[in-house]
């Protein structure tokens, strides 16, 4: 009998429609814990550099973690992984909501989906019943309607659906997977991987439940965590605004991505802030599964141009992406922009980068009106912005050029354009200016999935407590966002914390930002749940193993130190005068990278993990593989 885990992996071959079950081995659980860890292990083994991400040979993995579906606060998440068609390297994205728990209740820890269906299908899983069903009628609908449609078709109000949208079917590289209407796993183009396999959606319903080895102890531990969350200093703000609180905070700090990172202060921030949204549009809180700090919000526009728009969200990324980043100060247009991305099924970060990039090129005369289908791409022109978003979703006209992502668009436009493409390794960067947050800057220079903040989420640098910096990282400056010293250590710490959150499949707001659940508490909790005997040290080591495995994966794809870099603006152009405390700042990347590699036991010159590091983590297979490919000797 299984506890915590369901001990089952479902394998689906879309080419011939066959399915098979595999039991989870206890080594797999011990060494990779769950979720992202499970996916990365299989991704490394199954999808080497020879495989084209859009071919039938790419393998698509869906994993939940040991805590998914339990009462752990925010035990809601699920990871979708494959080789990324957007970046060509590691593809991985996760989301909250209710899909993950339902998959767990259906009796699975992981799905391994391979091949390519001969015609559009969706995968229907109800407990032990697994079917591929025709999905032609979904193609006409948007990503949100597809979910509702399947709930109606299968007549099940508790059905959970992960669906792609028209953008994926049209071949947009940054198309995502959408659950619970707007909860998006949208980074690195996992939606496009599904589309390439002709898999339009996964619909799941489970009635099996998750068994607990020592229910009383587990329940008591959760009560303690609930209390810790409720008493946390960030509790009230997070409950009111969720991540949208960052608009005001980053604007104040002078590093809110504004007009495509030309400055860090948006003069109209108070008209698009989390506070403003909460006051004027919020109907009520919304939460992911089992969350005791439900930070999402249901909003409604009751009058004006976009009257009748009802939506959950947005998060900070969508909110800033369609306001400060593109110069829009009417939050209703911002909400409409995010809604368009959701309905087409596209990543808001990548979409807003592609649009704001075009706007800067237009401002600089690198693109003319003729180049952009006659759109007047001036800052804040909401009509043109929304139209361009739709053009991207449909791959139409100038939108077609942007739909391959900003790296490819800049290459095709050529010349100066490449200087303004804000991406790392082909993944567009988020809505805070890295010049004002140095650990984040380092974090996305090195992130295994490209320009991404969530591989580390190094929020320690906001502490502003030199003693704590000294105590925890041996560097007082590490607790200050504008300093670069100690950031290699901070990012190393937070990379493991993020891997911890993603392997347990719980929320980073609590695990990373609020630092809930030490490894020791995590071990205790997992042991009460599963009856296994994890230790704190072993858990932390497993996280290090996952980080190293991911590094090895992208190294095998050709990534080296030279690729761990940032767009030139962040390295060379100081933030302008108006940015208050962040004014004059640039990213001192080289010394941070040195410290970072050293901290990891990776070679400083190349960024390749050293053989002894891989060996010490039990990654002998990886070592042998890198050796056989001549990457290590």
């Amino acid at each position: 009998m299984s506890f915590g885990y369901q001990d089952r992996v479902l394998k689906v071959d879309l080419t011939d429609g066959s399915t098979a079950l595999e039991e989870l081995s206890s080594d797999f659980k011990r060494n990779y814990v769950g979720g992202r860890g499970f996916n990365m292990k299989r991704l490394y083994e199954r999808v080497p550099p020879e495989i084209d991400p859009l071919s039938a040979d790419n393998v698509f993995f869906v994993s939940v973690g040991p805590l998914t579906g339990t009462s752990f606060p925010g035990a809601a998440r699920v990871n979708f992984s494959a080789k990324s068609p957007q970046t060509g390297i590691l593809g991985d994205s996760n989301t909250g909501g209710f899909f993950g728990p339902e998959l767990k209740f259906a009796g699975y820890d992981q799905l391994v989906i391979e091949g390519q269906a001969p015609r559009p299908v969706y995968l229907y899983i109800k407990d032990d019943r697994v079917e591929l069903r025709p999905a032609e009628d979904l193609l006409e609908k948007d990503a949100l309607e597809r979910q509702s449609h399947l709930m109606e078709e299968l007549d099940d109000g508790r059905l959970q659906v992960a669906a792609i949208g028209p953008a994926a079917n049209n071949g947009v590289k940054f198309s995502g997977i959408f659950c619970n209407q707007v909860r998006a796993a949208a980074r690195t183009g996992m939606g496009l991987v599904m589309a390439s396999k002709n898999l339009q959606a996964i619909a799941v319903r489970g009635t099996k439940g998750v068994r607990v080895k020592r229910p009383k102890e587990f329940g008591e531990l959760i009560e303690g965590l609930d209390k810790e969350i409720r008493e946390h200093p960030e509790y009230e703000d997070r409950l009111m605004m969720g991540t949208t609180k960052l608009i005001s905070q980053l604007n104040e700090a002078g590093c809110l991505a504004t007009r495509h990172f030309q400055t860090g202060r948006f003069e109209d921030a108070d008209r698009v802030s989390g506070e403003y949204l909460a006051e004027n549009y919020k109907k009520k809180n919304k939460g992911c599964f089992s969350c005791t700090i439900p930070c999402s919000r249901f909003l409604e526009i009751e009058s004006g141009k976009y009257e009748g728009l009802k939506t959950e969200g947005p998060e900070f990324e969508g909110l800033a992406g369609f306001s400060s980043r593109v110069g829009v100060n009417d939050v209703k247009a911002t909400l409409k922009g995010v809604d368009l991305c959701n309905r087409y099924g596209m990543d808001v970060i990548s979409t807003s980068e592609c649009i704001s990039f075009s706007m800067e090129l237009y401002e600089r005369g690198i693109l003319t009106k003729e180049d952009v289908d006659g759109l007047e791409l001036s800052w804040g022109n909401e009509g043109a912005i929304l139209e361009l978003a739709e053009k991207i979703g449909r791959r139409e006209g100038f939108g077609d050029l942007l739909a391959d992502g900003v790296r490819s668009a800049a290459e095709r436009i050529g010349g100066e354009a490449q200087r303004y493409a804000m991406h790392v390794k082909g993944l567009e960067v988020f809505q805070a200016d890295p010049r004002g947050i140095k650990a984040y800057a380092l974090g996305f220079a090195v992130a295994s999935r490209g320009g991404d903040h969530l591989r580390s989420e190094p929020s320690f640098e906001f502490k502003e407590d030199p003693e704590e910096g000294q105590e925890r990282f041996g560097v007082p400056e590490s607790a200050f966002r504008l300093e670069y010293k100690g950031k290699g250590k901070v990012v190393n710490f937070h990379e493991k914390r993020s891997a911890f959150a993603d392997s347990l499949e719980v929320c980073k707001n609590t695990i990373s930002n609020m630092e809930i659940l030490s490894y020791a508490e995590g071990a205790k909790l997992l042991n009460a749940l599963t009856g296994m005997d994890f230790s704190a040290a072993e858990l932390e080591r497993s996280m290090e193993r996952i980080v190293n495995l991911e590094r090895a994966y992208i190294v095998r794809e050709g990534v080296r130190r030279a690729d761990d870099t940032l767009p030139r603006r962040f390295l060379e152009e100081p933030l302008p005068e108006e940015c208050g405390p962040s004014a004059g700042s640039v990213v001192e990347l080289a010394p941070m990278l040195d410290e970072y590699y050293e901290e990891h036991g990776w070679d400083k010159e190349t960024g390749i993990p050293k053989a002894e590091k891989l060996r010490s983590l039990g990654l002998e297979n990886v070592l042998a593989d890198l050796k056989s490919r001549g990457i290590l000797d």
């Binding site: 579906g69 209740f105 329940g219 009520k284 809180n285």
Partner: protein
């Protein structure tokens, strides 16, 4: 026929008239009488009016709910002025001690407008009642309509005269003498599902065709779901207090 005394028992919110605690008036026959110089809130009055004749009548029958109902709240959600209605002794003119007038036991009160839809309530319920997670063993369930932003916790309302108990053909359903919660004697249950059909609130569930129904047992008087609810969409108490819909 009784005469009535109506007194402001409690002001839970803010009343700008103001009606204050202790303010009162009488209903004598067909007339409303206020003390000299005192008034009564028109809106509170109009909402209570239909109730006065019912309270005045004398009914001799079992299960008469009229004596139980003696606190009414004004219709202004911000006001929350609670009026106490007392029957007067025809001989002395003093308020009567009414038989059967004790408050009903507290139950789980639900405010869907506050519910975030997180289903944290389901997780603690299923763990406490089934040593596992999954709605299969939870006695509270959140019904959701995501596009409309609707989240509706479904849970037993512990009705005074519960249709589920009345309809049960085998006497499997009863009431807990301490908490008043509906109880299920599994050994008597024949899984006919009549209780589920009878419940107007979808508060009792059949987990599968061959299992006894699941219904909230109030955790013996300290419901875990209420304790865990992060938005106060769930409360434990009696209807009539602020926040209940």
């Amino acid at each position: 026929m009784y005469d009535l005394k109506v007194t402001v028992d409690e002001v839970q919110g803010f009343c700008d008239l103001p009606m204050e605690e202790g303010d009162h008036f009488w209903v004598k026959g067909g007339r409303i009488i206020t003390p000299p110089g005192q008034g009564v809130c028109l809106w509170a009055l109009q909402s209570m009016m239909p109730f006065f004749p019912a309270k005045q009548r004398v009914i001799e029958e079992e299960n008469d709910w009229i004596p139980d109902t003696k606190r009414l709240i004004c219709p202004d959600p911000n006001g929350g002025v609670v009026f106490k209605i007392e029957r007067l002794d025809p001989q002395t003119g003093e308020p009567l001690e009414e038989k059967g007038g004790k408050d009903p036991p507290p139950r789980i009160l639900v405010d869907p407008d506050k519910c975030s839809g997180c289903r944290a309530c389901e997780t603690v319920c299923s763990l406490a009642h089934g040593d596992s997670f999954g709605a299969g063993s939870s006695r509270i369930r959140v019904e959701k309509d995501e596009p409309a932003g609707v989240d509706r916790p479904l849970v037993c309302r512990q009705c005074g005269d519960a249709p589920c108990v009345k309809v049960c053909p085998t006497g499997a359903l009863g009431r807990d003498p301490e908490t008043g919660a509906v109880t299920v004697a599994e050994e008597k249950c024949v899984q006919c599902g009549k209780c589920v059909q009878a419940c107007p609130f979808e508060g009792i569930f059949l987990p599968s065709a061959d299992e006894a129904p699941l219904v909230c047992d109030l955790c013996g008087g300290e419901p875990r779901c209420v304790k865990r609810c992060p938005t106060e969409a769930l409360k434990f108490g009696n209807a009539g207090s602020i926040g209940e819909s």
